[in-house]
Subunit: 147 residues, 2 copies
DNA sequence: TTGTTAATTGGGAATGAATATCATTTTTAC
DNA sequence: GTAAAAATGATATTCATTCCCAATTAACAA
């Protein structure tokens, strides 16, 4: 789920623009998210944040992630699982392959797919703000192995 | 999330094929899901099942839905919300518009989009089993109103 | 700076959805 | 029919998330 056109701005900047105050704790949390190239769940964020600031509380992590989610400044996915995974909005828009065998998540982008999504939404008179496409199946590794 | 090619078979049949025994309670639950054209959460299923069989337990509803989910005979979505929503697999494959304003969920199908998904997966050497596309934004009603 | 107010936070309690347990009931296989 | 296996209801338990509130920190005018 991406709003696009956010490249160039840091997550911190986006938060400020939305009116969030950038406290020390929030800076730590933002730093954790921006540093990671993948998809972190709440526990992941908490564990990494504690390494930078051992006094940080799990409640603050939950509160901050919820806040950023509500303000639409971080992306989140559930990937068919129970818990949410968060990722930096600095990455340009992409979709995900989810391997049902090994759980690996791979990111991909396809321009014609993006264009088609826009057209489909328009033709159904739906004002698209964001979208999420997840493709489930077997990654190339698991596909070979299972033969 | 659809496996396609399941049209014609009832949910009950699919369950039997997977090796599930069709108990009285499960028949009630299956009936609830097949009867509804939309997307039910666990509580919804429980409430409706109780109307057909007041002795049914919420534990059984959880167990049965989990089982059918694990056996891939019912479709489930989270729509960016907390709880999962289930729907009958009898409906042919479709994607969803989710209105951020009124919460309304609309189903749609687009053949060229489906073809493109297949091509994209193939070109990334990913063996697609199912996929899920959710488009978030404003439905036509809310789009008009918010002007 | 300093003081005043509002916002944020840590820690622990509360909540609640989902699962586990276990005695009882139902289904299956013979 | 009987015996073994599976499913169920009621309830206890788990555990991720939220709530609560006193203490801390941030914002900002003087
Ligand atoms: Mn991603
Ligand atoms: Mn649907
Ligand atoms: Zn894999
Ligand atoms: Zn709407």
């Amino acid at each position: 789920m991406k709003n696009g056109a956010r490249k160039g701005k840091s997550l911190a900047q986006l938060c400020v623009e939305k009116g969030m105050t950038l406290t020390k704790k929030r800076k730590v949390i933002i730093n954790v998210i921006e540093k990671d190239p993948g998809h972190l769940n709440t526990e992941d964020v908490y564990n990494r944040a504690k390494m930078e600031d051992s006094s940080i509380s799990i409640a603050t992590v939950y509160r901050s992630l919820k806040l950023m989610r509500d303000y639409n400044v971080i992306d989140h996915h559930s990937f068919g699982q129970e818990h949410q995974h968060f990722e930096s909005p600095m990455k340009s828009h992409h979709d995900h392959f989810v391997c049902n065998e090994c759980g690996k998540i791979t990111e991909f982008t396809d321009n014609s797919l993006e264009k088609l999504k826009i057209n489909v939404a328009r033709s159904h008179d739906f004002e698209m703000h964001s979208h999420r496409l997840e493709i489930y199946g077997l990654c190339s590794d698991c596909s070979k192995t299972s033969q």
